[in-house]
């Protein structure tokens, strides 16, 4: 399907070889075709069309942002994160900016129904002087919205080819591919010429010159020049130009409210919105909490890994290195690198993380997630976060480690700290949640409410205190609400698989390190010493049986181990509540602790870690003293 691009378009903006941090290797002589567009414009459908089967997915250095790259004929096609403009306001923009700066050709996918928003980026790309073609997507929805678009006029005004498409119905994809050789520079704003000319002599390429003029401090620093302060003027002019283009090419045939828009309105209506939210959350719980966490994990962890893998690997290693030796314990013992760690990673974590990322992709692609963020914004404001923090919090119930990594999407350091602390302290991960549920079910109604009440209160108090104590301000919510759309299963799966892969790649080494640490402690007798050291606190302060100390240490290795250790003990209902509160607030597993240190640095991680110990034993003890 790949066609050879013989009509090589000369790029007039040479000298972009020093974009430096770009990690993606493109063979000599091939062109970089870069896909650019706003979020939710169907860009991935285009990428999938161009890329065929083999796609190289890599993390952009220093970020969790995944970049997909594929070969297309002798050229390379690179996807970029959805952005509303080229600058450096967040990680997504920084990554997209660098890839765009290195592009030989840009395919700009725009949403025909939201031209006013999308053309802003298009005109910016044109002002950058990049050879461009525009894919005018969602043409199938234009009529439904009572619109009419003059595609030829749009192409004339922009000065670049505009191809109408309906990517979801596979319409226009081949035409976009066929138009690639026609990519060309569009009509640039004459007002910018003089300014650009000056800057051009200093930074060497027009795309970079424009970005510097618009005040990008990163790119300016790269060239040792001071950033321009014309952003507002340029932006306002660009906005006026876009509005002018839109007023010429779009005509309102009828202002009708579509069914989608009606549903969109209902979702945000406080009376209907909350029950809808409850139904959606229940559905997600059934998918992730029941189907995946219980049924699928039962098979992958219990039957496959513990039933086949562990006996198999023990059978191979045992004759060479006995399990009784130190090395044997480390390799195939209770916390063995080859036994428990592998089982945990592949049998438990992999299906769970995949399930949670699927749920997230479903909510993203349907357009529900931004509405959910809007709905809960006020509640999260109270603990110093904005609606966007709903993503790490939801993911936290899956795996705290995974959620801690996604706190990167939050706007300020302050928000990242608050969200991380809440995750590490008060959100039980799914592995733990399963065991907690079983233990709670044994003791019945009022105790369950007591436990939930305590955890929620702790969460609210921690958030409020941190929000008051930490300096600075949290970023306000300002998000675009895309139209509600039915998610495409192939897109959901692709997205979830990509993210799961990135997560597993990042977290796996830390799980091995964690298991290794505990195994070494076991071999050297430190584990026993540790357990004995905790005993006075366990029996005296928490009023629990002595063996509960073991559960707390186990909780370090795997949070559910901690709770599972309580299974075998005969505890009174009150003792159960006390021990569960302590276990929930107690340090998260060693892998998430490692990620905590990596993400937040020593200065924040140590207080968060110590804080969780003080909080868990402090609150657990107070409860015990009051209630038992």
């Amino acid at each position: 399907m790949a066609r050879k691009d013989t009509a090589v378009v000369k790029t007039t903006h040479g000298g972009h070889s020093h974009t430096g941090s770009l990690a993606l290797d493109v063979p000599e002589g091939s062109k970089k075709i870069v896909l650019v567009g706003n979020p939710n414009v169907g860009k991935s459908v285009f990428f999938n069309y161009f890329s065929g089967l083999y796609v190289d997915v890599s993390n952009y250095p220093g970020t969790t942002i995944e970049i997909s790259q594929a070969r297309y004929g002798k050229d390379a096609v690179i996807d970029t994160p959805g952005i509303y403009g080229v600058s450096s306001f967040n990680d997504e923009e920084i990554v997209a900016r660098d890839i765009i700066l290195s592009a030989d050709k840009v395919v700009n996918v725009i949403d025909a129904v939201h031209l006013e928003r999308d053309l802003f980026l298009t005109v910016q790309l044109i002002d950058m002087g990049l050879p461009l073609i525009v894919a005018l997507n969602f043409m199938d929805e234009v009529e439904e919205h009572g619109l009419k678009i003059d595609v030829d006029l749009l192409s004339d005004l922009l000065g670049v080819p505009v191809i109408p498409t309906a990517a979801i119905r596979k319409q226009g994809l081949a035409e976009v591919a066929a138009a690639l050789p026609e990519a060309r520079e569009g009509h640039q704003d004459p007002f910018l010429h003089k300014k650009l000319h000056e800057m051009l002599s200093r930074v060497g390429s027009q795309p970079e010159a424009l970005i510097v003029l618009e005040g990008d401090t990163y790119v300016a620093a790269r060239h040792g020049v001071s950033p321009g302060n014309d952003r507002e003027e340029i932006y306002v002019r660009r906005r006026e130009r876009v509005n002018d283009i839109v007023s010429h090419v779009v005509s309102d045939v009828a202002l009708t409210e579509t069914i989608r828009q009606k549903v969109g309105r209902l979702v945000l209506n406080p009376v209907a919105g909350i029950p809808i939210l409850a139904v959606i959350l229940y559905g997600l719980y059934q998918l992730v909490g029941v189907l995946i966490a219980q049924i699928v994990v039962g098979v992958t962890e219990g039957q496959i890994m513990q039933g086949y893998w562990e006996p198999f690997i023990r059978g191979i290693v045992e004759p060479v290195i006995s399990q009784k030796t130190a090395l044997g314990t480390i390799l195939i013992g209770e916390f063995g690198v080859l036994t428990m760690t592998i089982t945990y990673l592949l049998g438990l974590l992999l299906p769970l993380v995949l399930g949670f990322y699927m749920a997230l992709a479903l909510m993203e692609d349907s357009g529900y997630l931004p509405r959910l963020a809007t709905l809960v914004d006020r509640v999260l404001n109270a603990i110093g976060l904005n609606g966007r923090a709903v993503v790490p919090i939801i993911l936290g119930f899956g795996c705290v480690t995974m959620a801690t990594i996604t706190t990167r999407l939050l706007g300020t350091e302050r928000e990242k700290t608050i969200a991380t602390a809440i995750l590490q302290w008060a959100i039980p991960c799914s592995a733990q949640l399963g065991v907690i549920t079983v233990l709670l079910a044994r003791i019945g109604g009022p105790y369950i409410l007591l436990y939930i009440g305590i955890i929620f209160m702790t969460l609210a108090v921690i958030g409020t205190v941190l929000s008051r104590a930490l300096p600075g301000k949290s970023s306000p919510l300002l998000i675009d609400l895309p139209p509600l759309r039915l998610p495409r299963p192939d897109n959901v799966v692709r997205k979830a698989v990509t993210r799961t892969y990135a997560f597993m790649k990042e977290a796996t080494p830390w799980f091995f390190v964690g298991a290794l640490v505990v195994s070494v402690m076991q071999v050297t007798g430190m584990l026993n010493a540790w357990q004995n050291a905790w005993a006075p606190i366990t029996t005296g302060w928490l009023k629990l049986p002595k063996e509960a100390a073991i559960a707390f240490v186990m909780g370090l290795v795997r949070r559910d181990f901690g709770a599972a250790g309580l299974f075998e003990m005969s505890l009174t209902p009150m003792q159960t509540v006390v021990s569960l509160v302590t276990i929930t607030l107690f340090v998260p597993c060693i892998a998430s602790l490692m990620i905590l240190f990596k993400e937040r640095g020593l200065k924040q991680a140590v207080p968060i870690w110590i804080g969780s110990l003080v909080l868990a034993f402090g609150l657990g003890g107070i409860l015990a003293q009051l209630l038992i």
């Binding site: 509303y84 403009g85 600058s87 306001f89 129904v113 939201h114 006013e116 928003r117 802003f120 980026l121 919205h145 619109l147 952003r231 507002e232 932006y235 306002v236 660009r238 906005r239 876009v242 509005n243 202002l255 969109g264 309105r265 945000l268 209506n269 406080p270 931004p370 963020a373 809007t374 709905l375 914004d377 006020r378 404001n381 904005n386 609606g387 970023s475 306000p476 919510l477 300002l478 998000i479 675009d480 609400l481 139209p483």
Partner: protein, 82 residues
Amino acid sequence: MCLDQIKAGEEVVIKEILDNAAKTQFIRFGIGEGSTVVCHSKIPFGPVILKKNRQEIAVGRELARTITVERSGYGKKRHRRG
């Protein structure tokens, strides 16, 4: 008047956006100082949802308090009726 005081269905002109980062983002979304927007809905104590043509934007309540607007009438729908 500030943006947090508008009611669902009301149409206003944006006069001033104090927060610079927010101003930039608003311009990208298609809304600048001088734009006319309609209040799509309001979450109680929460964000204000604005609508301009087919574009919907959620603005946190705190941010809405820092945006000055001027009443310009009611949305097209109501206008027709009354």
